[in-house]
Amino acid sequence: MWMWVVHRVTGVAIFFFLLIHVLDTALVRVSPEAYNDVIGSYKTPIYGLIESGLVAAILLHAFNGLRIIAVDRSTWALRHQKQLVWAVWILFAVLMAPFLWRHLGHVFGGA
């Protein structure tokens, strides 16, 4: 049930980000200055945190999507679907930790 909510909420968030992301990338067709200006603002701490949330949403949506496919396709996965929810969160945590380490390092300076 909660993963169903997570899947919907992350899906909507990713969709709206995608609209914005295509629009900001489209600035490469306007001028290098316009693109660099907007992307420059993405390198600030506040955007760095928003980007981290976005990457988190993408990873959760992706791994939970794989879980849904597995549960639909195999009775083993269906029987173990609770453990697979744990697998989604563990995989998520294992990938988010190094991502946050590096990305926040870039955003907050230092690395």
Binding site: T25, V28, R29, P32, E33, Y35, A62
Partner: protein
């Protein structure tokens, strides 16, 4: 013994949907794992390698799109992600917009947004000019040889 065959459900216009919802489901199942590979690679290359987000500027994009592989990569990612998102949002509208009029309006807005973003994004990828603009410090080095 066989089960009695049901008449196909009809939508008000009289057209039949010909398994449209099944194909929508199949599309999500195929595009999902593809998008996982496309997007995780995209995030890794752009945010984890080199200087991460600090390396991203016009010259970085020009460098990537100098290779047809990344153009095709980004194009496939754009189209699949927009269609996957379009279909997901369509299902959410069906679930939460109960009034028929509202549903129609939201579906129309969603369709317009999807077409506009796919067309705009495709034009940007396929008409990209790496030597655009007047400031030589912002474009890749090879633009000097072309000038």
């Amino acid at each position: 013994m066989t089960a009695p065959r049901l008449k196909e459900p009809q939508i008000p216009s009289g057209r039949t949907r010909h398994n449209a919802e099944k194909w929508s489901w199949v599309f999500m199942r195929i595009s999902g794992p593809l998008l996982l590979v496309l997007i995780v690679t995209h995030l890794f290359v752009n945010l984890m390698t080199g200087d991460g987000i600090n390396q991203i500027d016009f010259a970085f994009v020009a460098g990537k799109w100098a290779s047809p592989l990344w153009k095709i990569w980004d194009f496939v990612m754009l189209v699949l992600a927009m269609l996957h998102g379009f279909n997901g949002m369509r299902l959410l509208i069906n679930d939460y917009a109960h009034r028929a009029g509202l549903r129609k309006v939201l579906h129309a807005l969603l369709g317009i947004a999807t077409v506009v973003i796919i067309v705009l994004g495709s034009l940007v990828i396929w008409t990209f000019d790496p030597c655009l603009g007047t400031d030589p410090s912002l474009v890749p080095d090879f633009c000097k040889d072309l000038a």
